[in-house]
């Protein structure tokens, strides 16, 4: 699978004529499930669809494989890796409109844009995702309450179907395919290029403020008071109970308006070097981590100027941090619950997680705003979203996930496909009742292990 640049390669006296044959494992970021697929890199827009035309057992375009579950996997099928499609096509420094091939990563876009005084309109927690992947999962960021999802800032793109038809998609042209492709999990066709509206900045720095909170009500209070701040997100301690229940750190920031050097980012240096053994993660170590993180912020309130890198991408500093969870991998769980039941639902689910003892290092709490997404299948909607990750313990994790997914459903919420490896077909179809309408836009040759799992079949094959 593609790795980020800048790492020292292991030396390997390979002969250039040992052609790869047959199947290879392609891991998603959660490293679960494990599937083999025929992995074929795309380097030129003209490679597709010719390369896909002779393929059997289904095809799925994939980028950096940063989705956690199986939306970027196709068991026994063909994965077309798009990261070689990373060329720029046009940039207008007046409007900030950037057109690029869809395999370009957000890191590559930032390296180009930041020195020119522009930034991504919406950024997820890692910059190692492709433009196409960001559209296909209609990702969101810390500014969802003011900016909406990534798809809202995509002005147009080209969709190539496996039969060779090319569709220019925008809010006004092929608008049905535009809506189906944003959040369409890569199933409507290959996004060959896309145009994105970047936003102007004058500094690399973020005016940052971190505030401790105790409980969901304090979190909601802080959220209400920070409506005008562009970026807000919270880390929450999901291991503690009693008086420490739902304590956390509320983090907010704006792009600094003090003019500053706009330089490209240095390459990451730390690499998590090995798979951590299973015993390294248990309730005790997670509790210790969470307690340490909470008190890392010694003062109740911290104000600082911070580079955008640690603010947006704290984990990108450590390449392959997913190895921390060992070979068995991790499961992510992210819900959104609408306002009517958001407070009650969040408390109920946090209690269930604390009770299970399967705690998470990285619990992230955020409020989604009411800026609508153009995507038919997009995950965000107004309310509270919580993302948790857990090391996989087969006998315990999956029953817990099923309970949490059912609770989410009872509270009127839904789960995020990009972070999922466990929801059932019935749960998915209840969360996304529009899935049958969406299925009409699916490319007949394109499918994923996720799609097979949640629709119960492998259509068209």
């Amino acid at each position: 699978m593609p790795t980020a640049s800048g790492t020292t390669p292991e030396l390997n006296f390979r002969t250039p004529d040992e052609q790869f044959e047959g199947q290879a494992p392609f891991e998603s970021w959660g490293r679960y499930p494990n599937y083999d697929a025929n992995v074929v890199p795309l380097h030129w827009q003209s490679d597709y669809p010719a390369v896909a035309s002779g393929m059997h057992n289904g095809v799925l375009p994939v980028g950096m494989g940063r989705s956690y579950g199986d939306v970027c996997l196709l068991n026994g099928g063909n994965l077309l890796v798009t990261t070689g499609l990373n060329r720029l096509i046009a940039f207008d420094p007046e409007t900030g409109l950037l057109t690029a091939e869809a395999g370009i990563t957000l890191a590559q876009i930032l390296d180009f844009a930041v020195p020119r005084g522009f930034f991504l309109p919406v950024s997820p927690g890692t910059k190692y995702v492709t433009l196409g992947g960001a559209i296909a999962n209609d990702i969101h960021g810390k500014n969802h309450h003011v900016a909406g999802t990534f798809g809202r800032h995509v002005t147009q793109f080209e969709l190539v179907r496996s039969d060779g038809t090319r569709k220019l998609c925008s809010p006004t042209e092929n608008s049905d395919f535009y809506a189906a492709t944003i959040g369409g999990l890569g199933l409507t066709g290959l996004i060959s290029w896309a145009q994105l509206r970047l936003k102007p900045i004058v500094s690399r720095l973020i005016d940052y403020e971190g505030i401790q909170f105790h409980g969901i009500d304090e979190f909601l209070d802080l959220t209400r008071r920070s409506q005008d701040i562009e970026y807000t997100v919270s880390w929450i301690d999901c291991a503690s109970t009693g008086k420490n229940f739902a304590r956390g750190v509320f983090m907010q920031g704006d792009h600094s308006t003090k003019r500053d050097m706009l330089t490209p980012s240095p390459k990451p240096k730390l690499v998590f070097p090995f798979d951590a053994p299973g015993f390294a993660l248990n309730h005790l170590s997670v509790s210790l981590f969470n307690t340490a993180f909470f008190h890392k912020q010694i003062h109740n309130r911290v104000v600082a100027l911070q580079d955008y890198e640690p603010f947006f991408y704290p984990l990108d500093k450590v390449l392959h941090w997913n190895r921390m969870y060992g070979k068995r991998g991790l499961l992510q769980f992210q819900y959104v619950i609408p306002w009517e039941s958001a407070r009650e639902g969040t408390i109920t689910i946090l209690k269930e997680v604390a009770k299970s003892g399967l705690a998470s290092f990285l619990a992230v709490l955020k409020v989604f705003g009411d800026v609508p997404s153009p995507g038919m299948m997009s995950f965000p909607k107004p309310g509270i979203t919580l993302a948790l990750d857990f090391p996989i313990k087969p006998d315990k994790s999956f029953p817990l996930f099923e309970r949490l997914a059912d609770m989410t459903r009872e509270f009127g919420g839904r789960l995020y496909p990009a972070k999922d490896a466990a929801m059932t077909a019935a749960q998915f179809q209840a969360f996304y009742p529009q899935w049958q309408q969406f299925a009409r836009y699916r490319d007949p040759q394109l499918t994923s292990s996720f799609w097979e799992r949640v629709t119960g079949d492998r259509p068209g094959l």
């Binding site: 593609p2 020292t8 030396l11 390997n12 250039p16 004529d17 940039f91």
Partner: protein
């Protein structure tokens, strides 16, 4: 020490501009505002690369579609390129083919094709380019050879021998033109993650193409003679060159 005047954009001719290493190198030059003349066989791919480099800040990008195996065309093509660039600071030869070793072992025509593309055609280009640079007492010829040329191995000796010939040619050419103010850089990459190597066994461990490109730009700026990239290949190839033949011939490399 860098010999490059940073205020005037450099004039760079790239032969084989759609190769993965060439593209990564050109992105660095484009960001510096260089003037580029790009040559490749496939018009569609060449146009995509040229558009990318213009967007990244190249001050001038011109292209020509050509099959560089056609040596008769070389003088016209090179003269056109130099006119278009209004001069020449760096000529960068990056093209080559791996070829099919198994087939070449049985079929001389396959072997001859590898040798022609990787050795004969570069000799034709470099002869013209070296004479042009000697007349002006300036210029750098940066040429991608390979670690595979340092010692023949059973798994790829046709590719390797063509690159060995190229490396020896570059050494002799350097010896001739150095006193005329012309630099000849022989670049010897180990396996690099590019379109040429994608799908090969272990290719996820190959060198990162952006890091390789950075080393090449640096070596050109410093007017180096030889570059092993990544640098670990220099001691490795030193050892491999010095394994006694009676042992080497028993090895599976």
């Amino acid at each position: 020490m860098s010999q490059i005047d940073s205020t005037t954009p450099r004039k760079i001719l790239v032969l084989g501009a759609t190769s993965g290493i060439a593209e990564a190198t050109c992105r660095i030059w484009a960001a510096q505002g260089a003037r580029l003349f790009l040559v490749a066989r496939n018009a569609e791919k060449l146009a995509a690369v040229a558009t990318d480099l213009r967007t990244r800040g190249a001050s001038y990008v011109d292209t020509a579609v050509a099959d560089l195996d056609n040596t008769d065309q070389h003088p016209t093509l090179l003269a056109h390129a130099v006119n278009s660039l209004t001069g020449l600071d760096v000529a960068y030869l990056t093209y080559g083919i791996l070829g099919d070793q198994a087939k070449a072992e049985q079929d001389f025509n396959t072997a001859a094709q590898i040798i022609y593309t990787n050795y004969m055609a570069p000799v034709s280009l470099l002869t013209w380019l070296a004479n042009f640079c000697v007349q002006r007492h300036a210029g750098t010829l940066a040429v991608i050879s390979s670690v595979a040329g340092d010692r023949g191995r059973k798994s790829n000796y046709l590719y390797g021998s063509s690159k060995a010939g190229l490396s020896a040619f570059l050494g002799g050419l350097r010896n001739r033109v150095d006193r005329e103010g012309v630099t000849v850089l022989a670049i010897k990459p180990g396996p690099v993650k590019t379109a040429m190597t994608s799908g090969m066994k272990g290719s996820e461990k190959f060198a990162d193409v952006d890091a390789v490109a950075k080393s090449i730009v640096n070596a050109i700026d410093k007017r180096q003679d030889t570059l092993y990239v990544p640098f670990q290949w220099q001691p490795i190839m030193f050892i491999i060159r010095n394994i006694p033949e009676r042992i080497f011939k028993k090895l599976n490399l």
